[in-house]
């Protein structure tokens, strides 16, 4: 039910990249117990979004217990000292609200969207389960079946997802980013309520959380409510530091071939290690973001689609993507799905040729202007979505970026020069990459 929404995490790339320019500035507070509170006032509609982000995710899963962060996310909807199993859902629903939760490598977040006058009860319940979860009062075993079924349904039944999991596992040689968020099946099968409780006690605390409230609220009132509900929860003094194993220098490119009878259209995908967005140091990440937009941002005008799909007719589609919203490392991807009669080998060669031509020829300035236009427009349009703004802020803060980093990101993106884009393209290093071919069953 509460999915490891990796796709959502990926779609945050743009959301993370552009922050409110014209709307009310977010206001940041810190409670005495160390909990960060961000409020975005948006009085256009009597609606509020509450999100609580924890600075813990699948990359913090202890070795051998992959999937525990995500399992705990599911179990957070079970009983607490004062609430019965199922009560959380029932109260949100009775109030006409919607809610969900998601887990990524670096964070776990819980959110509700309700009428603004229903905020206090949402805070009361969210604060309650920050420390009062009682897995000994709940039947956690069926929930383990649920996550195993989730892995079966959303991942194992889909060769694209399995392929992506294998690619990532091959890309990271030492970082826990190579593990699936949902966990490896054989390890998930061994997870228990006790393991989840231990993980919960270590990581769930006000000083390891960011509260985001966005919508039809007054900042001082939210602060008062936050003090009332979250304020009494004591800080944990011995929070673990977030230092995960880092990648060594990568020296050898990796290649994967996966065959699966369910594959309808074979394709090539390549993942590179790339820089991530870092506090006070986002310029390099911005160049990769713009590079991805120019190579693959539009199905009609981007370089890869134009050259490979329209001009040469070699591809059904071609793509590029960048994900830099992560604590330890970003990734850059390129791919091509060949047209009928074109081999994966020929398609990969064409992809590399177009990339080399691009580096040789440089950036088309008209296209860069269109991309800049889209960046500016996305910044504007996304302010229209309160939930998106809450996401962006929560994501930035939980990754350790400051409000200033958030605000500057848009300007940095717009100021990326054609030379920086080409320099980013040159930095894509085959030795720090994995290239995969996903194919149908052998005939």
């Amino acid at each position: 039910m509460f999915v490891a929404k990796r796709l959502i995490a990926a779609s945050f790339v743009w959301a993370a990249s552009v922050l409110a320019a014209a709307a009310e500035d977010p206001q940041l507070f810190t409670l005495d117990n160390g909990m960060q509170v961000v409020v975005v006032e948006d009085h256009r509609a009597p609606v509020v979004v509450q999100m609580v982000w924890y600075r813990v995710g699948a990359a913090d899963d202890p070795a051998g217990h992959s999937g525990i962060a995500h399992f705990l996310e599911h179990l957070m909807f079970k009983a607490t000292d004062s609430m019965e199993e199922g009560e959380f859902d029932a109260v949100v629903q009775a109030n006409g609200g919607s809610h969900n939760a998601f887990t990524s490598w670096d964070y776990t977040a819980y959110h509700q969207r309700v009428a603004a006058d229903r905020l206090p009860i949402m805070m009361q319940m969210e604060a309650d389960r920050m420390v009062n979860l009682r897995l000994d009062r709940s039947d956690w075993l069926p929930e383990r079946d649920v996550i195993l079924r989730e892995r079966g349904q959303t991942l194992e039944s889909n060769p694209d997802r399995v392929f992506a999991e294998q690619m990532r596992a091959a890309l990271y040689q030492n970082s826990p980013y190579g593990r699936p968020i949902i966990g490896w099946r054989h390890e998930m099968e061994q997870l228990t309520g006790d393991i989840a409780t231990d993980f919960y006690r270590v990581h769930y605390a006000p000083n390891n959380a960011v509260l985001v409230v966005a919508g039809d609220v007054e900042a001082d009132e939210v602060l008062a409510l936050a003090n009332q509900y979250y304020g009494p929860i004591p800080a944990v003094t011995d929070l673990p530091t977030r230092s995960r194993p880092q990648e060594p220098p990568q020296l050898a490119e990796r290649r994967l071939i996966m065959r699966d009878a369910r594959v309808g259209q074979p394709y090539v995908n390549r993942l590179y290690l790339a820089p991530n967005r870092r506090p006070g140091d986002q310029r390099e990440a911005a160049a990769f973001q713009v590079l991805a937009a120019i190579l693959g941002g539009s199905s009609q005008t981007s370089v890869l689609e134009r050259r490979l799909t329209y001009d040469e007719g070699i591809a059904i589609s071609a793509w590029a993507g960048y994900s830099g919203a992560a604590l330890d490392s970003g990734t850059f991807s390129l791919g091509i799905m060949p047209a009928e009669g074109v081999t994966l080998e020929a398609a990969e060669a064409a992809l590399d040729r177009v990339l080399a031509d691009f580096i040789e020829t440089g950036v088309d300035m008209d296209q860069l202007e269109r991309v800049r236009m889209q960046i500016r427009a996305a910044a504007v349009y996304e302010q229209d979505d309160t939930a998106d703004r809450a996401n962006t802020l929560g994501l930035n803060l939980v990754l350790g970026l400051s409000l200033q980093d958030s605000e500057e990101w848009l300007d940095i993106l717009e100021s990326v020069t054609p030379e920086e884009v080409i320099a980013a393209a040159r930095r894509l290093d085959r030795r720090a990459s994995v290239t995969g071919w996903l194919m149908g069953a052998e005939e």
């Binding site: 109030n95 236009m373 302010q383």
Partner: protein, 440 residues
């Protein structure tokens, strides 16, 4: 029980708040040429969403030409003015604007999203598609072939079959009897002349309603409305008469291979203008609405596990109404489930709903309502559709009061009037055991 305590507290909280936290301020704009629009000005974000609804839609398709308005609508952005399909897309991309059209049962809508800095250029492109589409033979052939392919897929979908059979039986001789997108046969026979005639019929200056939200003033919006309207003729094709669903009571089985029976059922509904529409709407939320665990879900799914989901709704459209429901179940349980649905309609008609049910749904509905207004695009769409449905300007701000004002007596009165267990017609698509058609 804990649950009751907490829900009690929630109710108290909801009742202690006198009014919605923030009323939505809607302006009525009248253009120099006399056209109307509703506007929510919101200047904090430099873009606007504009929703234009042209009343009529697929209901204007002449007999035998089902799908003409829908096909015409798909062709609008396939080349307009001096731009081909790709050039048109690229022009919009350079402005970071969007223009889209969609055909529905009762209307065609045009949705525009534009940054303030280049709003006029995006509106130019929208007008180009609306009034100067190329309608070339080549694009007609291509889009018609795509449409036929998708209709052929839909024709093998049991849910579509159930829905189309239900409409055909209940609205015979009325445009509601045929699908919005037509059938492979009707679309296959459409010519360029039919497309041009559909364009002439569907886009007329006297059947427009407009909603807008965002960074635009009343006078600026008024000028845009006049630009849209001035390029269009006035209506010459009459709107259809109003028709109440009138299939004879009984069962229609449509044989279809597979383990499941897909069932659509219903009878006459209620006109959206009826003074009892709000109590009826609340009643349906309790009985079979999708937003909260309803009576039907409790009885058919939770208590007996006969289905994954069962829903009813007041299908109160512009030119007709029915009270309709749908669910699926195993072929072997179809007869049992149909009997149970009838029994539940009897329960409803005989005053089964309690005060507790009513209060619970009022809390849910008043809480859920504001969530719809989640941005300019949603607001523009809601404003246009409220005018299309003849709601008053202040409806948004009084709607929750109207929900709270519904009493149990209102619910029982309307339930007795609306729920007719013996009038129900069930369309069953599948191989249901022990269920046979009652009508040829």
């Amino acid at each position: 029980m804990r649950l009751n305590r907490l829900m009690g507290a929630t109710l108290a909280l909801a009742l202690s708040v006198a009014a919605p936290a923030q009323a939505i301020d809607i302006e009525a704009v009248t253009s120099p040429a006399g056209h109307q629009a509703w506007l929510v000005e919101e200047h904090s974000i430099p873009f606007v969403s504009i929703e234009v609804i042209f009343t009529g839609g697929a209901s204007l398709d002449p007999e035998g030409k089902a799908g003409a308005v829908s096909l015409m609508t798909s062709l609008l952005t396939e080349g307009a003015g001096d731009l081909d399909a790709q050039g048109y897309a690229a022009a919009l991309e350079a402005l970071a604007g969007s223009v889209s059209f969609s055909a529905g049962r009762d209307s065609v809508s045009m949705t525009i999203r534009a940054l303030t800095e280049n709003r006029d250029q995006v509106v130019d492109l929208a007008l180009m598609a609306l009034t100067d589409a190329q309608f070339s033979h080549m694009s007609l052939d291509r889009v018609r072939a795509q449409t036929i392919a998708s209709l052929e897929r839909a024709a093998r979908n049991p849910s579509t079959i159930a829905q189309e059979t239900y409409s055909r039986l209940g609205y015979a001789g009325h445009p509601y009897a045929t699908p919005v997108d037509g059938t492979a046969a009707t679309v296959g026979a459409l010519t360029l002349d039919d497309v041009l005639a559909a364009h002439r019929a569907a886009f007329t200056s006297d059947r427009i309603v407009v909603g807008a939200a965002g960074d635009i003033t009343g006078p600026e919006l008024a000028a845009i409305i006049d630009r849209i309207a001035e390029g269009l003729p006035t209506a010459d094709r009459p709107l259809p008469d109003y028709r109440v669903f009138d299939a004879a009571p009984g069962v229609t089985v449509v044989p279809f291979d597979g383990p499941q029976s897909i069932i659509q059922f219903g009878h006459a509904g209620m006109d959206a203008d009826d003074p009892d529409f709000m109590p009826a709407f609340v009643m349906n939320e309790i009985f079979g609405g999708g937003g909260f665990n309803s009576r039907l879900m409790a009885e058919i799914r939770e208590a007996r596990g006969l289905t994954y989901g069962i829903y009813t709704s007041l299908a109160s459209s512009r030119f007709g109404d029915s009270y309709v429901g749908r669910f699926s179940t195993g072929n072997e349980t179809a007869a049992e489930a149909i009997a149970l649905v009838r029994e539940q309609f009897r329960w409803l008609a005989e005053g089964g709903i309690t005060q507790e049910d009513l209060e619970r749904i009022q809390t849910y509905m008043t809480g859920a309502y504001p969530l719809r207004f989640d941005g300019n695009e949603s607001i523009a769409r809601i404003l246009a559709s409220m005018q299309f449905q003849n709601y008053p300007l202040n409806y948004v701000n009084i709607r929750n009061d109207l929900v709270r004002a519904v009493t149990l007596e209102d619910i029982q009165r309307v339930a007795q009037r609306l729920a007719q267990p013996e009038a129900l017609h069930f369309v069953v698509v599948g191989q249901p055991e022990g269920v046979e058609s009652t009508t040829p």
